[in-house]
Amino acid sequence: MTENPRTLYEKIWDAHVVERRDDGTSILYIDRHLVHEVTSPQAFEALRLAGRKVRRPDLTLAVPDHNLPTTARRDDAGNRIPIEDPASAQQLAALEKNAPEFGIRYIGDADLQQGIVHVVGPEQGFSIPGATIVCGDSHTACHGGLGALAFGIGTSEVEHVLATQTLQLKRSKTMEVRVDGELAPGVTAKDVILHVIGVTGTAGGTGYVVEYRGKVFEDMSIESRLTVCNMAIEGGARAGLIAPDEKTFAFIKGRPMAPKGEDWDKALAWWKTLPTDEGAKFDKSVVIDAADIEPTVTWGTSPEDTIGITGMVPDPASFADPAKQAAAKASLEYMGLQPGTPMNEIEVENIFIGSCTNSRIEDLRAAAAVLKGRKIAPNIKWAIVVPGSGLVKMHAEEEGLDKIFTDAGLEWREPGCSACLGMNPDKVPAGERCASTSNRNFVGRQGPGARTHLVSPAMAAAAAVTGRLTDVRELGVLAEEPA
């Protein structure tokens, strides 16, 4: 056993401490900073007012994603199709101006590499194991799937990182979520993380950084690991990590911005030292049996309101905590649901396949496997597939997935955050339901009055086919298990 055994998080933290003050606050060095159009304008403006520069533009990457429309962005002649909403257009224009002004690399709205920041980072090799990665977006936790310490920050912190390439932070407590055993067929990374949040609650991880451990995560593909860590924040943890392994290294190698040559060898040697030492202690530990997880959906307006698809809408009175009872009652009222309704009888009118949680190629393949040769149900009013990046879109088209989606009656869109948060024109109408592969079922998240049920891509596809929340296992078309 190692002397002073440390966790993965502690090793990455220790390697990035610039200095530690007596009160326990450290200045932590940041290796990678992703910037998008919504949480950065005020930060750049403040830098300008203070006459400050960006300390390390070479460690910063800007890409618009949140409020870009997912319809065509250029006409046939290659001219920009103006964004109708002037406020969205203004935010895009601000980023297009700020990035070059401060010397930051910028991926434009119509570039092949454009996409959701959390899809672009890993895809370009910008996000790598052992790095500290931040972005003004809480789903930055996503990059932890590569074994990086990645977390969301507010705009003042964006400004702080731009100006100093550091943050003032205190080390978080450590939490282990261990899932051992084998996942049943039809149970995906999304079901695992929804189930985990159902167990720990949305505040269970507050103050902690979570490491997902155990056979289930070891067996997962890198894309699945990104899905799991993406939703660490929905469990209250600012960051979630999974130890990097051979699969991680193979995923990173050769990507455009990944280390190369001598740097690669050096990186690999260091990355291999990162996994949690035997004997390292976690401040909190949650153990879950993979056999307990079935395809999972949400019934309420908090990501902790999860239940297996074979379950029923719970009775608020069944919760022990009075505050939870009140919250469940309000949730069911908003969702228009009655206690005791079987989950698989809930009709949906909208389908959204996309978001930083589930818009990578593996997600699209899983949805396409269910939709192949099928049509969406007559009661589905709106069904869209929004790939996570231009490159994901290109790969999907090379595989003919777009054809499967459009033949089934779904729309095939341009990359962006889209209906996950309804900042662009993609919204779910008030009072209507959406089976959504996104990450938040908050009140009004997908549009004022919209009712969201969080599901995996295969489950969203199954709901599209039947017009109601559906156990994908009943359709007898399980997607190939990811390698």
């Binding site: 610039v18 200095e19 003050r21 606050t25 200045i27 060095y29 919504v38 949480t39 304008p41 005020q42 203070a50 400050r52 300390r55 409020n67 203004q90 935010q91 690399r105 991926i107 434009g108 570039d111 590499q113 370009q124 003004g136 977006d137 809480s138 969301g152 920050i153 507010g154 705009t155 003042s156 912190e157 400004e159 702080h160 100006a163 100093t164 949305t202 505040a203 507050t206 103050g207 209250g236 600012r238 455009p256 911005m257 280390p259 740097d263 690669w264 050096k266 990186a267 260091w270 908090s302 505050a323 939870k324 009140a326 309804g422 900042m423 938040r440 908050f442 009140v443 009004g444 998240r445």
Partner: protein, 203 residues
């Protein structure tokens, strides 16, 4: 940044648990490039219901908000803090706060006071009729009825709030240490710090 010492006045007895930042300020209000004016979008979905605490005229301009567990969970949007400030709220009292929100609040000079649920319940009761007083120097919350609750706060944050210090300015004073770290890691962790590859094909 504005110095904070005492915050005294009406407190909005909201009390809800797991209030996410989508509730504090819905996404449609995020399309701004300034920090001002977000108060009009604050708690929009809550305000859509009649008889809500935010539109109670007695609470107009109240400097304190009282909420339930896990206040500010969800999105990292600092607009939530800006919206509260624009409403005139400079302190939030709750049993617990999300990590990202409490950081955002601090950086905008909003004091987050964590108290046990039963004390929060008591303050909710008092807020229906009377004012509440927060003393950051002495770390206490008091009411006109002799209630006196003490709270914990990170000493560094307390120091910054009391003195109105700018965190970026403080960090920049340590720029030699940052340069020293960069020099050290340029060798050992060159793959992290020496990365200079352009995005192929991008403008």
């Amino acid at each position: 940044m504005q110095k904070i010492d005492h915050i005294e006045g009406r407190a909005i007895p909201f009390g809800a648990k797991n209030v996410d930042t989508d509730v504090i300020i819905p996404a449609r209000w995020l399309k701004t490039i300034t920090r001002e004016g977000l108060g009009q979008g604050a708690f929009e979905t809550v305000r859509a219901k009649e008889g809500n605490v935010f539109d109670d005229p007695r609470n107009a301009g109240a400097p304190i908000l009282i909420a339930g567990d896990n206040f500010g969970c969800g999105s990292s949007r600092e607009h939530a803090a800006w919206a509260l400030l624009d409403m005139g709220v400079t302190a939030v009292i709750a049993p617990s706060f999300s990590d990202i929100f409490s950081g955002n609040a601090f950086k905008n000079g909003i004091l987050t006071v964590a108290l046990p649920q039963e004390q929060v319940d008591r303050l909710m009761e008092v807020a229906e009729t009377d004012e509440i007083s927060i003393d950051l120097e002495n770390q206490t919350v008091t009411t006109p009825f002799q209630d006196r609750f003490t709270f914990e706060i990170d000493p560094f944050r307390r120091h910054c709030l009391l003195n109105g210090l700018d965190e970026i300015g403080l960090t920049l004073e340590r720029k030699d240490a940052i340069s020293a770290y960069e020099a050290k890691s340029a060798d050992a962790l060159s793959f992290l710090s020496g990365q200079q590859v352009a995005v192929p094909g991008a403008a």
